[in-house]
Symmetry: C2
Subunit: 134 residues, 2 copies
């Protein structure tokens, strides 16, 4: 029922885009407020913690890799990791092979914070996402 994979029809395209934009605004706003209020972290912080917590590689993940995953610019991610590091939720570790690279890995406190925040995240998603994307 959606013109997502259809031929680019101008009117339908705009309608689809407005739907995406509106859905994103509502849900991301609700997520950000709930996470901030109940766990003291923003949505971007949560997303990064989640990627780090669910990475099987014990070394962590590269900065650029993370930036792509959460759709942030390089600079935004650099500062975001800086904030999380000050809060003691992640650590930076130099990469031995390529000394330009940095591995970010989650700390125990960071994992605990993520586990505490996950139910909130899922609950808001369950409440807002179906309503926002009919």
């Amino acid at each position: 029922m959606r013109a997502v994979s259809a031929v680019p029809d101008p009117a339908g395209l705009v309608e689809t885009w407005r739907g995406v934009a509106q859905c994103h605004a509502k849900v991301s706003g609700a997520l950000d407020k709930a996470l901030e209020r109940e766990h003291g972290i923003g949505l971007s912080e949560f997303e990064v913690l989640e990627r780090l917590a669910t990475t099987e590689d014990a070394d962590g993940r590269r900065m650029q890799d993370l930036a792509d995953a959460v759709c942030l610019s390089q600079s935004a991610l650099s500062r975001l990791i800086g904030r999380l590091e000050i809060a003691g939720l992640v650590c930076r570790a130099m990469c031995a092979a390529d000394r330009r690279g940095i591995y970010a890995h989650i700390t125990d406190a960071g994992r605990a914070r993520w586990e505490a925040a996950q139910p909130t995240h899922r609950a808001v998603l369950a409440a807002e996402l179906p309503a926002a994307a009919p």
Copy 2:
């Protein structure tokens, strides 16, 4: 094929949300850059101009009404209209009935700018939206 209207299943919910977020990031970034580069206005400015241009009411639209339509806070819209007014693309007019209210209406220059920018907007949408929302 979409879990949009399905029962709130945690994993699928997260997956759907990531899809929406990624789609929004890619498309809004592309739109903003293209509009800024080719027409000197940002995506928010374009969206507001479009709402004003396609309003049948000649008086324009109320500020709060516009804020809801483009998913911006009231303060953000106030400043946005301020920028557009300085650029000569919109005008503010006091509302006679309720002197607290303000009507924003588009100028000839604003309509011309919107008409010039619309093809760019549609083209980027046609190029990025289907690719970003498969």
